[in-house]
């Protein structure tokens, strides 16, 4: 009898303890400000910031492809982070849904940021995030391979194809691509489209007065398809990591990617490998090449925590030149706050700053307003380009698919 009560007592104690620990407020264990991001690399920045602030943040990173799911389910259950590092459309959507607090009255310092940056985290007259950095999409190339075959940076589409043809004839893979990770194919469309689509047409598209089935976009898709003659054999079975390895092993001369790849390229390339960049080629040499530039991070404040003074202190710090400099020192990315970083010693960064000043005025693909419904432009383009490259779709059919998909929810198309 006593032994039975002893066993029951042990089980009861364990059961009750689990309930108590589970109900324990997290603030008893962790810092007052929980900050999430989709890039582990951001931790370096926040570790440095924690040395500057009294309270600091508890930083957590989640896998990029899981981030949206984690963020949505956490806010739905009322357990989201205090501060969220959000992608542009994510910040706006969460702000409109009431998950993030409007910041324009809480942080007057936001007036220091340019309208172009604030517009990508604002909606309905409210600013929902502190802009952090921009990313650009461009073509990275191996300068040594180009020099070997007497090639220079192409500016027009014809020159680009000629360059690729010369490389191919000399047994060099002109462009490494990843068909398995469809999002990388979407980058190709954005890079070429930024230079080759007229700004007026993009504005009309966003207003619903132009369509994806219009000839300029169909022709763009056809040019993207034609590039596959210069990709490595079997590229549809390559992942993003494989693509990166191919470029770093100097088996491929070019790689179409974002500036977010630059730290990885510079950190892992062979010592004798020189890397350059250029923007997507234009159709006509009279045109100006443009960068596909998007805000790649805003810091949003949970609506439930808008009175959290520690969190406001962190966000206030994020609007300062000190924070911008810390971010640049750790990650070498284009800051959203202008006039702080004037590093002329890093030629690649100088070039990125040039890209930021010569960017497409309106986004039409990844990170555009077309991301904010179901199906999103990313799903349609990423999967559709796979279909284009496998021959399942023609450019006209893909354009039609994208138009039908976006029209099912985008108000201007209805």
């Amino acid at each position: 009898m006593k032994r039975r009560f002893g066993v029951v007592g042990v089980f009861a104690f364990v059961f009750v303890s689990l309930i108590v620990v589970g109900l324990l407020p997290s603030a008893v264990i962790a810092k007052d400000v929980e900050l999430w991001s989709w890039r582990e690399a951001h931790k370096d920045v926040w570790d440095e910031v924690n040395n500057q602030l009294d309270d600091g943040v508890d930083f957590s990173a989640y896998l990029n492809v899981d981030y949206d799911a984690v963020v949505i389910t956490s806010y739905q259950s009322g357990m989201g982070p205090t501060i969220l590092t959000g992608k542009g459309a994510q910040i706006i959507t969460l702000g409109e849904a009431g998950a993030l607090a409007p910041l324009e009255n809480l942080l007057p310092e936001l007036s220091e940021f340019p309208e172009a940056a604030l517009s990508q985290v604002s909606s309905g007259g409210h600013i929902y995030g502190v802009p952090i950095v921009y990313q650009t999409l461009q073509v990275f190339y191996n300068k040594g391979i180009f020099r070997k075959y007497g090639l220079s940076e192409p500016t027009t589409w014809e020159e680009f194809l000629e360059t690729a043809e010369i490389l191919k004839q000399n047994g060099v893979i002109p462009i490494t691509a990843s068909g398995r990770d469809g999002w990388t194919l979407g980058l190709i469309l954005a890079v070429l489209g930024a230079s080759q689509l007229e700004e007026e047409w993009i504005v009309d598209l966003l207003a619903g007065e132009a369509k994806f089935t219009d000839q300029p976009f169909v022709d763009l898709l056809a040019r993207v398809r034609d590039l596959q003659a210069y990709f490595q054999d079997g590229f549809m079975g390559y992942g993003y990591g494989d693509m990166g390895q191919m470029f770093l092993r100097q088996e491929a001369a070019m790689r179409i990617d974002g500036s977010f790849a630059l730290p990885g390229i510079l950190g892992n390339k062979p010592a004798d490998m020189e890397v350059g960049m250029f923007l997507g080629p234009v159709l006509d040499e009279q045109q100006d090449r443009k960068a596909y530039l998007f805000l790649d991070g805003g810091l949003g404040l949970s609506a439930a925590e808008q009175n959290n003074q520690s969190a406001l202190e962190v966000l206030r710090y994020a609007t300062t030149a000190f924070f911008t400099k810390t971010w640049y020192d750790k990650l070498i990315e284009i800051p959203a706050l202008p006039g702080v970083i004037e590093d002329k010693s890093n030629p690649l960064f100088t070039e990125l700053l040039y890209y930021a000043d010569n960017s497409v005025g309106n986004l039409f693909a990844v990170r555009s307003v077309f991301e904010r419904g179901t199906p999103s432009i990313s799903t349609l383009v990423n999967a559709g380009l796979q279909g284009l490259f496998t021959g399942d779709l023609t450019p006209e059919e893909l354009a039609e698919e994208i138009q039908i998909g976006i029209s099912s929810w985008y108000p201007a198309f209805k």
Partner: protein, 305 residues
């Protein structure tokens, strides 16, 4: 005398008290989420909860309106193909290996462990490893085929829409075959030895014994495998996500209902109601069919005795 008086006072419904903890768990973690999902599907559910009541509008969008209906039926078709391929290969493979294992005099424990190791691996790890193995240029699979002079069999395993689904399914079979094999093995072990004795006395060959005794008596076990496989195939998502991404590429050739649900509910920031609709439709497909298969299994078990 005292004990009899105690037994006489026990309520005939006291067994319900013993069912209560299990019932609470079942209601909380099984029934409640299903009902919540159905509720979400009837609203324009967004990030911060229920929006406007839309009735069956989400169902109309998924089942009848382009482009989502095209995606849905493509994913459903892929699920069916996935299930049929999985079932045929797994049941054949599991039965073959189980019969061979059962006839081993020594080393059976080693082989059981060997076959079961992939079952213990995490799906993400399996997806990552096989993604490397299946690389069309430097992946070991194609390299081995080249070395053996079988270059004609080299494929773009995950990049060719005509074979990508079978490739992903094959990786899944590699991962779970050990588990199915053990289930079949336990079914074989439970067959009374008397039947085989009688067959040997009658001069039956090993093949004849397996064909006439083992396989017929394994039918209920195999039906269990079919049910498990059916549910697993229609809930599959993790391996496809790990190998070909949330879009089920290339060009939706590996897209299944689970992946469609995931990217609709989570990747587009505004499709939670639509995602709940897809989840409800998956439940409406899986539940009645698996129930029917279970009834067939019981009837088969009763007929065998």
């Amino acid at each position: 005398m005292g004990r009899r008086k105690y037994l006489a006072k026990t309520s005939p419904y006291s067994y319900l008290l013993f069912l209560l903890p299990g019932l609470i768990l079942y209601l909380t973690f099984f029934l409640f989420p299903i009902l919540q999902g159905v509720k979400y599907s009837l609203y324009d559910t967004g990030i911060m909860g229920l929006g406007d009541f839309v009735g069956l509008e989400n169902y109309k969008r998924i089942l009848f309106m382009p482009p989502l209906n095209k995606t849905f039926y493509n994913a459903l078709q892929n699920n069916v193909v996935f299930f049929i391929y999985n079932t045929v290969v797994k049941i054949f493979g599991a039965t073959l290996f189980a019969v061979m294992l059962n006839s081993l005099r020594r080393g059976s424990q080693f082989y059981k462990t060997f076959f079961f190791i992939p079952v213990t691996l995490s799906t993400v790890v399996v997806g990552y490893l096989w993604g490397l193995l299946l690389n069309p240029s430097w992946g070991p699979i194609n390299q081995v085929l080249r070395v053996l002079g079988l270059s004609v069999l080299e494929q773009n395993w995950l990049g060719d829409p005509s074979i990508a689904l079978y490739t992903v399914a094959s990786v899944g079979i590699w991962k779970s075959l050990g588990f199915f094999m053990l289930i079949v093995l336990s079914g074989i072990i439970s067959i009374p030895e008397d039947y085989y004795e009688a067959a040997r006395i009658d001069g039956a060959s090993a093949f004849r014994m397996h064909w006439s005794i083992t396989l017929p008596l394994l039918k209920p076990t195999m039906l269990v495998l079919v049910i498990l496989n059916f549910v697993g195939s229609f809930e599959s998502f993790d391996l496809i996500y790990a190998l070909t991404g949330p879009e089920g590429g290339p060009y939706y050739s590996t897209d299944v209902l689970g992946a469609f649900f995931y990217r609709t509910a989570f990747s587009s920031l505004g499709g939670f109601g639509l995602g709940a609709t897809i989840a409800t439709l998956i439940f409406l497909i899986v539940f009645p069919i698996s129930g029917l298969l279970n009834v067939c299994r019981r009837k088969l078990q009763e007929s065998i005795g």
